[in-house]
């Protein structure tokens, strides 16, 4: 399970870098879509880190992944809805 936890940490590190780059780019260029994309990665980062923290239980990892997926999916749907409006 240590490998799973470590892998989640690697992904979390990538997500935090992604969030940092997109939000900085969004703030510098004034592009709202970039800034929003960065902001939406925060729940994903949270789910990955919580999953990694609780990696002793395989079920909790899966639950963390599901929460991450649902979190980002719902954020994306809200984003689409907002654009549609």
């Amino acid at each position: 399970m240590a490998t799973v936890g470590r892998s989640l940490l690697f992904i979390a590190f990538s997500v935090s870098l992604w969030g940092l780059i997109t939000t900085v780019a969004g703030a510098v260029t004034g592009r709202k879509d970039l800034a929003d994309s960065g902001r939406r990665s925060m729940p994903v980062l949270m789910a990955l880190l919580v999953g990694s923290f609780l990696q002793g239980s395989r079920g909790l990892v899966i639950a963390g992944g599901v929460v991450a997926a649902l979190g980002s999916a719902s954020e994306y749907l809200v984003h689409l809805g907002a654009e549609g409006c």
Partner: protein, 619 residues
């Protein structure tokens, strides 16, 4: 550090959800700051301090938690402290965002105010639970030792306390912008510094559980320097926009009392910081590492605490903008009169108090705080009863519900007064006795007679405990028995009897807690007679099977019970320690009231007085 990153990500997600649709320019920069912090901490866990390192040889039962940490408080203390540290990152990130985008109104402050309060509350819980753990687990009879890591948590808490008060002035009057942003940035930097001190071990501390690598230390130092330089540069470069919108109208005003309170809190933070980092400062200047102890801290902290309590007692009675001496005199007359009467009574009735006038002054000022809070509640309830003709209980509930911050704050003040009374009494009038006793011998201290009734011993797979059963009488009346023991954990998991006494130790203190005083006892068993028996067994039998080892350890414990040598007892009688924990609980509830989100505003249909006609709009 993984815990730090997890908590940061949770609070960041929550904060970004709370501010969604607001602060359009500030949020991207704040998000970037939060991601940068997350990247640093996650990066450290990925590249420098892997939390998933496995042991080369996996023990059957695992190594287990450090025995000192096996206490209920320790389930909450670390997450609470780290929650405090990470929650302070939220206002820190938004302050950076506001400075970068030059949106320096009160919007960012209002959006993150609850997070600052939550950070303050979480740090407070962590600090208090740490103190309780120290009191019950470390076997020295105290709860606060000015340990470097304890101090590190206290620093952002002090700045947070100052900020929570001065932020109100910015909200109401547009003043102290530069001050507030500096306090938030300072609290943010000190939070990282606190984490660094826990992890780095650069200052000797009870918390030095891990030895980090040099790279990790330098990463932390780099992060702190970057935060500090960026904060200072941003504040200096935006000083024009941070100019205050209004000036102080009068010296006697709520604003000036808040400012004075802020200065005292800052002075306290400076004293704590200087004392904490003195070993490093002295080493840099003189080449030798020397440290300052509790007496050094006490000589500066005690007078500052007195001033703080006085301000806490008077401040709520002073009006905003401008107040006259006569008006203040009228408001303060009753609480001050009761407090002074209480102080005089205490002086007459209590002989101990006459020996320590600073403690007497603190009790009097704490009484003033209590009376002020009660008067403010009574005034509010009276006003509501007169206005809405509500019964007292309903009027009180409505009063608090409609102004949670104000009345929650008053409850916090009250809790602090209780807590400070406990600290003053227990530190000024504590009686510590350390004495070797044989079975049947007694010690007399402050009306208590404590008799060493009989030795105790217990052996299980994890530890060996040797202790004592103590018989207590109070003022000649029997007051039951209580136990204290010291436990040894194996050092290397080697199959020898001696190894059972060579590892970590833990003290189970005996405690008789009460509202007026605690009787606290810890035993230091003399093992000089039994360790040679363990050595002889190991020499004779060498490596033992687990069962034979257990039999050997039990034989050693039995030898201790058969022929108990004198044990050294530390008996402490501390007045009013329970008040510290009770005050902490009151503070907790007060902060919860203040932090609770306001409900929807109640819209009432106003009835026109009979005989008056409704005016037409535009007429």
């Amino acid at each position: 550090m993984l815990l730090w990153a997890v908590l940061l990500s949770i609070w960041s997600t929550l904060a970004l959800r709370v501010v969604r649709g607001r602060l359009a320019e500030v949020v991207p920069v704040a998000t970037a700051v939060l991601f940068a912090l997350a990247a640093v901490f996650v990066g450290m866990t990925v590249f420098l301090a892997n939390p998933f390192v496995t042991l080369a040889q996996v023990p059957v039962e695992g190594t287990g938690l450090n025995p000192l940490l096996r206490h209920a408080s320790m389930m909450i203390h670390p997450p609470a402290l780290y929650s405090g540290y990470t929650l302070f990152s939220i206002p820190f990130a938004f302050a950076i965002g506001a400075l970068v985008t030059r949106r320096l109104g009160a919007d960012w402050l209002l959006a993150t105010r609850r997070f600052a309060l939550a950070a303050w509350l979480a740090l407070g819980i962590g600090i208090l639970l740490g103190a309780r753990w120290s009191y019950l687990e470390l076997g020295w009879g105290g709860y606060w030792a000015w340990d470097a890591v304890e101090n590190a948590a206290l620093l952002p808490w002090l700045l947070g306390t100052a900020y929570l008060h001065s932020a109100t002035i910015q909200e109401k009057r547009g003043m102290l912008k530069l001050w507030n942003v500096s306090l938030v940035l300072g609290a943010g930097v000190l939070s990282i510094l606190g984490t660094f001190l826990v992890r780095s071990g650069i200052l000797s501390s009870i918390h030095a559980f891990v030895e980090p690598g040099a790279t990790l230390r330098w990463t932390f130092v780099a992060l702190i320097v970057i935060e500090l330089v960026a904060s200072v540069w941003l504040v200096i470069s935006r000083r024009e926009q941070l100019k205050t919108e209004h000036r102080l109208d009068a010296i006697i005003s709520r604003e000036s009392f808040f400012l004075a309170q802020n200065l005292v809190l800052l002075a306290l933070a400076f004293v704590v910081m200087w004392g904490t980092f003195f070993p490093l400062i002295s080493e840099a200047v003189t080449g030798t590492k020397s440290s300052v102890g509790p007496p050094w801290f006490d000589q500066y902290v005690a007078p500052l605490a007195l001033v703080l309590v006085a301000l806490m007692g008077i401040g709520p009675l002073v009006a905003w903008r401008r107040s006259g001496l006569a008006e203040l005199g009228r408001s303060i007359a009753r609480p001050a009169g009761i407090a002074i009467a209480f102080g005089v009574l205490l002086y007459i009735l209590n002989a101990d108090v006459r020996t320590d006038l600073s403690a007497l002054l603190l009790f009097t000022l704490a009484a003033l705080v209590g009376c002020t809070v009660i008067q403010e509640f009574a005034r509010g309830v009276r006003a509501r009863r007169a206005m809405a003709a509500e019964p007292t209980a309903k009027a009180l509930a409505q009063l608090v519900r409609r102004n949670r911050r104000r009345y929650g704050g008053y409850v916090v003040h009250f809790g602090f007064a209780v807590l400070l009374c406990g600290i003053a009494a227990s530190s000024s009038f504590q009686r510590v006795t350390e004495v070797p006793l044989k079975v049947g011998q007694s010690i007399h201290t402050r009306g208590y007679t404590v008799t060493y009734k009989q030795p105790t011993a217990s052996v299980n797979a994890e530890r060996v405990s040797l202790g004592a059963e103590l018989l207590v009488t109070h003022n000649g009346k029997p007051d039951g028995t209580f136990d204290t023991s010291k436990s040894w954990y194996p050092a290397n998991q080697t199959p020898t009897v001696g190894d059972a006494f060579a590892g970590e130790t833990e003290t189970d203190v005996g405690l008789r807690a009460g509202p007026l005083r605690d009787l606290w006892a810890a035993v230091e068993p003399d093992t000089s007679t039994i360790l040679p028996i363990a050595e002889r067994l190991d020499k004779k039998f060498g490596d033992l099977t687990p069962i034979a080892r257990a039999v050997g350890i039990a034989a050693v414990a039995r030898a201790y019970l058969r022929n108990p040598p004198p044990a050294t007892f530390r008996i402490v009688v501390s007045p009013m320690v329970t008040w510290i924990w009770a005050g902490g609980i009151i503070v907790f509830f007060g902060a919860l009231i203040a932090i609770w989100p306001p409900g929807e505003p109640v819209r009432r249909r106003l009835r026109m007085p009979v005989g008056r006609k409704r005016k037409k709009v535009g007429s």
